[in-house]
């Protein structure tokens, strides 16, 4: 039995965990349940844990649901555990809260000795029998279990059956019908349970519309909103679903989506597509980015406007393919030989993932240099209900770009000989980029150091090298004025000041909400743009603090080291995690309490 549950006694939320063998459609079933909650005006946050295999092995999906306006992240305690097999019951029953419920198939699982009926509500639901009687197939056991969950929590059944009908109506109405029958039967078993299950899930009237999306859907949508023309990728967890997302929408939105032979090709194609003028992006995880690195540098020296999604997992090498980690921060900052300007932004949640992605395309164009969106498995894989994106706020800023016409109309881009200077040295480091097709815009986009025309031969002249290198590096100053600033929240008079980046913001927000409820004073900063590093803002944040702490999902303290390097400031406390799991809010909560 889990002891201290920081959610407190009168918590409005409920966490449901569904476990079973891989290949049983557990995630899909869970997402159906989540959608029905969101349609009822509730909010959700889900977390999927799965091994790197397709069949067999153990999968678990959990969804936290609440009538409150926002669910900040997952929690550890489970209020309802759905065990589709005996292993799930054995493995996860200890996560159940006092008074929680175990839904299980009495034909598959013997709970005798596994639970204490004084503390846990046992809800037997004959899943196999229900499915058989409805004439369904084995995978519908999930749906019967979902029905039981709804019945147990007195959640109106029609939200679930509406979700099922919407999901299957187009594909096969008869399958929708069977699913509804199975869910209804499961609902009966759940609602007639004899033990007193105290939790209720009631619909919220007049709730604002919400989006139910994972991080990859948010990034893909941001790219589409930005007017992406070419997306190239090679499948790699957790970035693969972004490739599928884009591919499913390519013709409808006029995007060329290429599943390439490898990540080397993906990154080089994206640089080629950027030369052609398309807004171009690739995405991968750390292993794929390792292969992209040389061409990432090519984007830097050739001043190509490209966006790279680096969605990290636990490394090195193949590492933990389906688990999360924040250990590629330094890799993103230093990838590729030589020096060139880059921008690295790290969204903390799905709202930021959408916004930072469309903004990344603007930054890439304005700076003519690569921009990295640094995410992780925790962001990519898991859905949450969020406010509807502000589509009106999206802008397309292409910077110094000539798409049509004749370069004689742009005399300041021409040399004394009247020829176009692709890499003209400018004050802000950015030259006017003319696309192929523009009259008088002959050029060489070059991986070699080059002169203002782009010719490599003159690149070896020392003065040329200095002029071009300094021109490129000057773009970092411009970048500093364009990139999103850090986000700060919490107490105005904090006892502890915490820094983080990326998705750690989610459990940190939850932990801080609990602490604020209990009167503790904590302030936090999410470093949104990791490069160019917001040295002044971070220094000011640390400078006035009583105690400081960095929380990050790696062993070495990569953000802390960066702060020390750029701000010449140390921090007092740190919390690291590198077991492949995201920080839990309980862990962050405990750790902050110790520091306070």
């Amino acid at each position: 039995m889990t002891t201290a549950d920081p959610r407190g006694e009168n918590r409005p939320d409920l966490q449901i965990k569904i476990g079973g063998p891989a290949g049983f459609g557990i995630k899909a079933a869970g997402q159906t349940l989540a959608r029905s909650f969101v349609h009822a005006g509730l909010n959700t946050f889900d977390l999927t844990e799965y091994p790197s295999l397709i069949k067999g092995g153990h999968n678990a999906y959990q969804v936290r649901v609440s009538p409150e306006p926002e669910v900040l992240c997952h929690v550890m305690p489970v209020d309802i555990l759905v065990a589709l097999d005996h292993e799930t019951a054995e493995r996860h029953v200890s996560e159940l809260v006092e008074g929680g419920a175990l839904i299980y198939d009495p034909d598959k699982t013997d709970v005798e000795g596994l639970i204490d009926p004084e503390h846990v509500c046992a809800v037997p639901v004959p899943l196999d029998t229900i499915v058989k009687e409805a004439g369904g197939v084995a995978i519908m056991r999930n749906v019967a279990a979902l029905g039981a969950v709804a019945g147990l929590a007195k959640f109106p059944l029609h939200y679930l059956t509406d979700s099922l009908e919407a999901q299957f109506a187009k594909k096969a109405p008869e399958i929708a019908e069977k699913n509804v029958a199975v869910a209804t039967k499961g609902y009966e078993f759940g609602s007639k349970t004899e033990c007193a299950f105290p939790f209720r899930l009631s619909p919220v009237e007049d709730a604002p519309p919400r989006l139910l999306v994972d991080g990859n859907e948010a990034i893909g949508s941001g790219a589409l909103a930005a007017g992406i023309g070419v997306y190239c990728a090679y499948p790699m967890t957790p970035a693969s679903s972004l490739l599928s997302f884009m591919a499913a929408r390519d013709r409808e939105h006029g995007v060329v989506v290429k599943h390439t032979e490898d990540e080397i090709a993906a990154m080089n194609m994206v640089v080629g597509a950027a030369f052609g003028g398309a807004r171009a992006m690739c995405a991968t995880s750390g292993g794929g980015f390792s292969l992209m690195v040389e061409a990432f540098g090519l984007a830097g020296v050739s001043e190509s406007a490209v966006v790279v999604g680096l969605l990290t997992r636990a490394g090195p090498a193949t590492g933990l393919p389906t688990w999360t980690e924040q250990s590629d921060l330094r890799f993103a900052l230093h990838a590729a030989q030589g020096e060139f300007p880059r921008v690295v932004v790290a969204p903390g949640d799905r709202t930021q993932a959408f916004e930072l992605t469309w903004k990344a395309f603007n930054l890439a164009d304005q700076l003519q240099t690569p921009v990295v969106i640094l995410g992780d498995t925790y962001l990519s894989d898991n859905r949450a209900s969020i406010p509807v994106w502000d589509l009106e706020a999206v802008t397309v800023e292409r910077g110094k770009l000539v798409t049509e016409g004749d370069m004689v109309e742009h005399p300041d881009t021409l040399g004394e000989d009247g020829l176009y200077l692709r890499y003209k040295v400018t004050d802000d480091g950015v030259s006017v980029r003319a696309l192929p097709g523009v009259t008088g815009a002959c050029q060489v986009v070059n991986s070699y150091e080059h002169d203002e025309y782009g010719y490599g031969a003159q690149g070896e002249v020392a003065a040329t090298r200095i002029a071009q290198h300094e021109k490129r590096m000057r773009k970092l100053d411009l970048a500093s004025s364009l990139v999103p600033p850090p986000v700060e929240w919490g107490s105005e008079d904090p006892d502890v000041s915490v820094l983080c980046f990326g998705t750690t913001v989610q459990p940190l927000r939850q932990a801080m909400a609990w602490l604020a409820r209990d009167g503790a004073k904590v302030r936090a900063m999410q470093v949104v743009t990791l490069w160019p590093f917001p040295a002044d803002a971070v220094s000011a944040f640390i400078g006035g603090a009583k105690k400081t702490m960095v929380i990050e999902g790696n062993y070495a303290g990569q953000l802390e080291g960066l702060i020390r390097e750029v701000c010449l400031l140390g921090v007092d406390h740190r919390l690291h995690r590198y077991d492949g799991r995201p920080f839990s809010p309980e862990q962050v909560h405990e750790s902050l309490k110790e520091v306070l």
Partner: protein
């Protein structure tokens, strides 16, 4: 329309005197004139190697890519703008060594572009190491006791993997090369022209004189049918030989070895590539309907 001279830049070619690249450069410019290319839409992508210095000498939309990565860069460019004529120049080490994977997949795609391989059977720019097309047992600085591998069958590979125009040229015959380049550029689909391009500095075996004694034009052979894929593949196998082969023993075919018209190109499968894709980013895409699907 620009003529041969117009495709030159103020930069003077820096290849070794007598290098096969000069003739290839000349033949390519002639082909550009013959196929009515203009500076704005002729996009040439180079890999890294001696051939790549051509990026400084050719007036066009140039892209001097990474070593071995000209093909994917050119593919991205072609997939971003259907109005461009895309030509790739690559070396043998560049395109058949470090970049071989891209070559195979580009053939499979039948993407509409032209690839000209400067095949001098040696690494020139890095001073004379063995390349993937160096003769078996030839001694080089990286293989002082001889190359233990067989050379890549570039022609057979291109045919096997789906290229729809496969030709071989000889840098000692500019008019013949010019005709091959012209046909390759005009071909709709993935066109490969592998050119025997003697390296006068590092390859003392496969010289102009060596090739002159061995090459013959397939189009002058009565009965050669370049549309016969199996026949073309069989012919590609005859070009293997050992270093000591006499002119009588090894005859090296040049000309159009294989061509297939009418096979859909990669671009044919992309109805969304109906205009330059920079036009997709004139304003934010309207996602109202898509976003409704997330609700």
């Amino acid at each position: 329309m620009p003529t041969v001279k117009d495709f030159e830049t103020p930069n003077k070619p820096t290849w070794c005197p007598g290098c096969g690249n000069f003739n290839m450069f000349q033949a390519l410019r002639q082909a550009y004139e013959l196929t009515s290319q203009d500076f704005e839409h002729l996009a040439v992508v180079w890999g890294i190697g001696c051939h790549g210095n051509g990026a400084d000498f050719t007036r066009c939309q140039g892209f001097h890519a990474l070593h071995g990565r000209a093909l994917p860069a050119a593919t991205g460019l072609a997939l971003s703008n259907p109005e461009l004529t895309v030509v790739v120049e690559m070396g043998d080490g560049d395109g058949y060594g470090i970049g071989l994977g891209h070559f195979v997949h580009s053939c499979r795609r039948n993407i509409d572009m032209t690839v000209v391989a400067h095949d001098n059977q040696i690494y020139g720019l890095t001073t004379g190491q063995a390349s993937p097309t160096t003769e078996h047992m030839m001694k080089t600085v990286s293989t002082p006791t001889g190359v233990l591998e067989e050379p890549v069958n570039t022609i057979g590979l291109a045919i096997a993997e789906g290229a729809t125009f496969v030709a071989r040229g000889f840098a000692g015959d500019v008019p013949h090369m010019t005709a091959l380049f012209q046909q390759a550029i005009e071909h709709k689909g993935f066109a490969v022209v592998d050119v025997f391009q003697p390296c006068v500095t590092w390859n003392k075996l496969n010289t102009f004189a060596w090739f002159r004694e061995r090459v013959y034009k397939v189009e002058e052979e009565s009965g050669y049918d370049p549309t016969d894929r199996a026949g073309a593949m069989a012919l590609s196998l005859t070009t293997f030989h050992d270093m000591a082969c006499t002119p009588e023993q090894c005859k090296l075919p040049i000309g159009v070895l294989y061509r297939e018209e009418g096979r859909p190109t990669y671009q044919d499968g992309l109805p969304q590539l109906d205009e330059p894709l920079w036009k997709r980013a004139l304003a934010p895409r309207d996602l109202t309907e898509m976003v409704r699907g997330f609700m």
